[in-house]
Subunit: 195 residues, 2 copies
């Protein structure tokens, strides 16, 4: 069996420190090259199409600068009551997102794209995880926003930080909620290696 | 609302670095005092009774040295096919556990006990999470055991290390599998504060 590191250096097209942390868990040989694509959210889009489309755009843009490497792009959104929640733009939006999610179940979609420009290969997939939160008091919400400033996180929370104490249950994949469904990604990289 | 830190310094009756990491997420004022209780596993016991009993024993022993403090004890086991799996004693047992769990669903039980000797309070609870693993090749299992030496972990894997790449799905609580169901613990500490 060949190691996934025989794919050569992989490029993570993301500036998310959570995604970097996740890839580091499997000792992947990778470097970071954010796509800096403007993530304009059309809330009417189907979230499955949206996250995959966004992941593909990020990976594609970066692949033009790293034509020989495999590129991983990813995008995560939170969906509640048929509404897509991206990153909150300020404290007020952060508060309103967390108030809405309090005590309820919501869905987290992460789309992933794996591309290699020279090899003319591109594939994408998504992972869906349901998250149920504890009931959050106004004081807890305010404390969290002031202290943890979750403005770079879809849905306005980070499942790996203090907010982990407010997650009642998750169903399917913790790392999907954190930003990158590692187990499915690992399987797909392993298939690429052994092709 | 009072902060859970108004409970004073909490004592974690565990030497698990994973449990320490989990409590650190919520900025809890705590210190570590392992109970060093001999975890003799009677595989015929009901796992729910077993983990709570074990958590209580650990917390009780430490409470005798810290009579004024709240003590947290915890114990985690993996259950597959009605068999309780504790920590593997060597490479061979580690291999046989992972081979057994490969491609299947198993259950992880964590029992938690919160005690305060002076206040004569003691409560315990448990959390159950179902984990499904990818199919693991013999090479992957051997690689993992050699590289990560999972001998201090129930079921022979750490959900937060390289092995995270082999977890297909979990249902309920990631931190339960890691060793301490944080969300339920947080709720109970908050109730104690506001009593």
């Amino acid at each position: 069996m060949k190691s996934i590191n025989s794919l050569g250096k992989i490029i993570l097209a993301s500036k998310s420190p959570r995604r970097e942390e996740i890839l580091s868990k499997i000792n992947l040989n990778f470097e970071i090259a954010p796509s800096n694509i403007d993530e304009k959210l059309d809330a009417k889009l189907n979230p499955i199409a949206y996250v995959q489309d966004c992941a593909e755009k990020k990976a594609h843009k970066v692949s033009l600068d790293y034509k020989e490497n495999y590129i991983i792009g990813a995008d995560t959104v939170v969906v509640f009551d048929n509404q897509i929640l991206g990153k909150p733009k300020d404290k007020l939006e952060s508060y309103s997102m967390l108030k809405m999610l309090s005590g309820e179940k919501h869905k987290v979609f992460t789309g992933v794209s794996i591309q290699n420009y020279s090899k003319k290969t591109s594939q994408s997939f998504y992972c869906l995880t349901t998250v149920e939160l504890n009931t959050l008091s106004d004081e807890l919400i305010s404390f969290y926003i002031e202290k943890h400033k979750p403005f770079d996180k879809a849905g306005s929370y980070g499942i790996q930080d203090w907010f982990s104490s407010q997650v009642k249950s998750i169903d399917v994949c913790y790392y999907n909620v954190m930003g990158l469904p590692l187990s499915e990604l690992f399987k797909r990289l392993l298939i690429l290696v052994n092709k």
